[in-house]
Amino acid sequence: MFCSSLLFCSCYSVQAEVEDTLKRIQGINGVIGTIVVNAEGIPIKTTLDNSTTVQYAGLLHQLTMKARSTVRDIDPQNDLTFLRIRSKKHEIMVSTDKEYLLIVIQNPTE
């Protein structure tokens, strides 16, 4: 699966590629939902229902900003790459860059 998507990278349009990648993540075992959020916390693309999406986007956006500012306060040359929150029921993973935020919620059952 890795190789195939790399080969077709150039042929596909950007949007299709984005959707492809998101589908890949969604297809991994245990993933409940995936959300793409912009820098302000407004969701762009999601696989969950609207109210849940909005809630996750708002809350995690704030938390990510806080976490990032914490990391940068300690060392200004450092930056946050990945945030994982493990709760009793789920695991929430957040990755961020300047403009976007990607949130994945997984149910880590064995």
Binding site: E17, V18, I28, I42, I44, T81, M93, S95, L102
Partner: protein, 864 residues
């Protein structure tokens, strides 16, 4: 330099020249400097700028060098100088324009040479002024100038204006030397004793005070003022917000952006790694604690026996009595009610019937704080075999008697006593003597003709969520108070009773008036009027008989069990809280609603299990049917009936955890049933040597139940450990156990009340292993029951198969019998057939070989 001479200001007037008159700036060449010994920075320096030059020297220099001399400009001034020496000052800072200056007057020279600052008199002026303002100087002493104050002092002082007058008084000579006699005389004795000069107000002299001494204090201006916030009228305002969202186009736009694509592709790998990590193993799972949970009994508490906590034995009332029923008080912890009955068989009862009338039976209330005296006594008309607290009002107790009557008590007047003694007896009211146990008489008894004709063996209240109509259909209970009772007795019927006064069909105004005019009769013995309307006239409103399945006659029930129907109130109201009920739900005020108003409730199971005298368990419906022929209401035939136990069934109880699991205990065995499973009991115990008298489920563990036996021991059965034998057996008393009840006082203390035939009530503490259930115990037990159910089904199927097989086998045997008649003929035929077949085979072989071309005509014949 604080002690500066105050320079007189006249000496330092600047006329705009840049240098005062007595200063003459000079330039001295180095030759001149050498000559006079005033070389700059060598002989004269900044610190020591003064040099005294002789006048003669200067004149000599002027003569020798004439116009070239540096001193030529000051020639005349030098000649005029009175003294011999002139002061030359090295002006390092060029203050007067040149490097040197000559001081021309003696006075200035004096001034400069005296210790003071050279030259800069302008600055000194300023400094003086500043100093006067800034630094307070010690005042100089001046001669005193008189301003007239000495005159005042002179006036004030007292001086002698004339010389003092002197008088000498001497008595006559003849009196000198004569004896004198002195006597006392007080001043008040005569008029001339003293002269008084009292003060009086002389109007000619009224002095007006021209001067007054007053104290004055300066204070700042104060002003009193107040503010008040405006009370705005309160308004209901609400706000609503919704989250920001992107429109579809914006979303598309974002999805198409390259940035997003780059971001996602770069981030993808770490997501995949993490997701897979989680999938592979749970990093946060603590195996150690998880291990412990499953094991169960590893916490070090090894006690498994029931510990005796307390035991109650009443000396007055319990002689030769036995306890028939025990019940914990539902709300007050630490209080238990016990029904005492006579320990006699039927014949003995008949023989001693007169004695028994004099010996009334009681229900005693015991409190843990007082093991000797019971707290309350409830008087019963006859031996009470079973009783129950009303679930909606714990002050109402209903009991079933030996003579078939139902008795009702209302102990609301004495509840405080029960509660107070629980707290240690601090607030006992003065009326009641501590040693005396109050006796409460029953409020109401049912009528004898319409009640049971055999001793009532089981009584239960219907829950407050529904009530029954005349036909037995459950309908909504508007009052949310338990008003109906169910009883059963071995006279083959189950009766339903209603606590409310029956509906009067015809309401005439006169009747109503009469009722209201009647004075309420006071009951004797201070019995409350709660159930006055029922006393002696109480009738059951439904009578369910139990006709036998498959034969005539009826079952005689001993115990029954209803399904615990907890239904959500459809109107959304919560059932009445205890506080409201304590106000005194007047049962007399409740009325049976008309049948039209009542709404039938669904989801309520109207079926009940009945254990009979013959050891059968009957599953029947209490709804009444109308018989078309006679128009009377008849009860339906039971749905199932199981004969499992040999002798009478003494317990039918439901598990508190599973609503469809029932435990029935007969004399030598017990069985566990599941409602709906009609094949038989899920679990049937082995027969025990001693009789089993009672059974009771544990309230905290789904797999545990207690069985009491005739030798006074208790068996503790744990379905998770063993199903063929009890996990523990403990001897409690020497007499047979009559009743077992559990109660959870607190999470750490679970108590087991065990009563025996001798009339003693033992309270035992349930050990930790028996009261703490593990997390999955309920599921395990449920699975076990399901497994057993499957086993039963499997057995049944196997049985059916077995029967089929049996039939088939029989059929086959029959066929065989018929087929054995002609064996010989068959043999011959068989031989002929075999031969034919062989010949056919040979022909076939020939054909095949021919076709394959492997066979010659000649070989064929030779081979054969």
């Amino acid at each position: 330099m604080s002690s500066k001479r105050p320079k007189s200001k006249e000496a330092s007037k600047i006329k705009g020249k840049g240098h005062p008159d007595y200063i003459f700036p000079l330039v001295l060449t180095s030759a001149t400097q050498e000559l006079f010994g005033c070389q700059a920075d060598e002989d004269v320096t900044g610190e020591n700028p003064y040099k005294l030059l002789k006048k003669e020297d200067i004149i000599k220099d002027m003569k020798t060098r004439a116009s070239v001399s540096d001193f030529s400009p000051v020639k005349q001034l030098v000649l005029d100088y009175p003294e011999d020496e002139l002061l030359l000052v090295f002006d390092r800072d060029f203050t007067y324009g040149q490097s040197f200056y000559l001081v021309l007057t003696v006075e200035a020279k004096e001034n400069i040479l005296k210790p003071s600052v050279e030259g800069d008199e302008e600055q000194m002026e300023h400094e003086e002024k500043e100093e006067e303002m800034i630094v307070p100087k010690t005042p100089e002493s001046h001669p005193w100038i008189s301003l007239g104050s000495e005159q005042e002092i002179k006036e004030e002082s007292v001086t002698e204006s004339r010389p003092r007058l002197r008088y000498k008084i001497s008595p006559l000579q003849r009196r000198c030397g004569a004896p004198v006699c002195f006597s006392d005389r007080s001043a008040q004795d005569g008029k001339e004793g003293f002269v008084e000069c009292p003060s009086y107000q002389d109007k000619s002299f009224s002095i007006r005070e021209m001067e007054k001494h007053t104290a004055i204090q300066a204070s700042s201006d104060t002003k009193n003022s107040s503010t008040q916030t405006l009370w705005k009228h309160p308004k209901n305002i609400w706000t609503q917000y919704e989250p920001r969202e992107f429109s579809l186009e914006e979303k598309e736009h974002h999805l198409r952006s390259k940035n997003l694509k780059n971001f996602i592709t770069s981030v993808l790998i770490r997501f995949e790694i993490s997701l897979q990590q989680n999938y592979i193993t749970d990093v946060f799972c603590d195996d150690w604690t998880a291990l412990c949970e499953d094991e169960g009994a590893l916490t070090g508490k090894t006690e498994t026996q029931l510990k005796e906590y307390q035991s109650f034995m009443d000396l007055h009332f319990s002689k030769e009595k036995t306890i028939s029923h025990v019940h914990w008080h539902p709300t007050i912890s630490g209080v238990i009610a016990v029904a005492m009955t006579e320990r006699l068989s039927l014949e003995e009862r008949i023989d001693n019937s007169t004695k028994l009338l004099l010996n009334p039976s009681y229900i005693l209330f015991w409190n843990f704080t007082d093991p000797i005296n019971p707290q309350l006594q409830l008087e019963c008309p006859d031996d009470v075999l079973c009783f129950q607290f009303c679930p909606s009002d714990p002050n109402i107790i209903a009991g079933g008697c030996m003579n078939g009557q139902i008795v009702l008590w209302d102990i609301s007047a004495h509840v405080e006593r029960l509660q107070d003694t629980r707290s240690g007896g601090k607030n006992i009211s003065n009326k009641l003597d501590k040693n005396e146990t109050p006796v409460v008489r029953y409020c109401a008894v049912s009528g004898i003709e319409n009640g049971h004709k055999a001793p009532i063996t089981d009584i239960q209240w219907l829950p407050e969520t529904f009530e029954l109509s005349k036909l037995g259909i459950p309908v909504e209970n508007a009052s949310r108070v338990s008003v109906q009772l169910v009883t059963c007795a071995p006279d083959c019927c189950v009766l339903f009773w209603d606590l409310r006064p029956p509906r009067v069909v015809s309401h005439s105004l006169t009747e109503v008036k009469q009722k209201s005019e009647e004075k309420p009769l006071e009951n004797p013995h201070g019995v409350p009027n709660t159930f006055k309307h029922l006393n002696l006239t109480w009738k059951p409103f439904i009578r369910v008989s139990l006709p036998k399945l498959g034969s005539s006659g009826e079952y005689s029930p001993l115990k029954f069990s209803l399904r615990d129907n907890t239904v959500d109130c459809p109107s959304g109201d919560k059932p009445l809280q205890n506080a409201e009920r304590e106000e005194g739900c007047g049962f007399a005020q409740l009325r049976v609603p008309s049948a039209k108003q009542q709404k039938p409730m669904e989801n309520i199971s109207t079926k009940l299990y009945v254990g009979t005298e013959d050891g059968e368990l009957v599953y029947t419906d209490w709804k009444m049917e109308k018989d078309n022929d006679s128009g009377r209401l008849l009860s339906t035939k039971p749905i199932h009936r199981f004969l499992v136990h040999d002798t009478l069934v003494n317990t039918v109880t439901r598990s508190p955890f599973f609503k469809d699991i029932i435990l029935t205990v007969g004399s030598f065995s017990f069985a566990i049933w599941k409602e709906g499973v009609t094949n038989g009991p899920i679990l049937m115990s082995a027969f025990s040597r001693t009789m089993r008298t009672v059974g009771h489920w544990s309230l905290s563990r789904p797999a545990v139940f207690f069985i009491g036996k005739e030798d006074g021991s208790i068996e503790i059965w744990d379905l998770l450990q063993n199903t063929h034998e009890p996990s523990q057996s403990q001897n409690i008393s020497s007499a047979a156990i009559t009743c077992i009840r559990t109660s959870c006082i607190s999470s750490k203390q679970h108590l087991l009340a065990v009563s025996d035939r001798l009339g003693t009530l033992h309270i035992l503490q349930i050990p930790w292993t028996l009261r703490r259930s593990s997390n999955s115990e309920r599921q395990i037990v449920r699975k076990y029951f399901e497994k057993e159910e499957e086993r039963l089904e499997y057995f049944e199927k196997r049985q059916i198969k077995h029967e089929k097989k049996k039939k088939e086998m029989e059929a086959e045997e029959q066929r065989k019998k018929t087929e054995l008649v002609m064996p010989l003929k068959q043999e011959e035929e068989l031989e002929a057939e075999a031969l034919k077949e062989y010949e056919q085979f040979l022909a076939l072989e020939k054909d095949i070989l021919k076709n394959m071309g492997l066979l010659n005509e000649t070989e064929d014949s030779s081979d054969m």
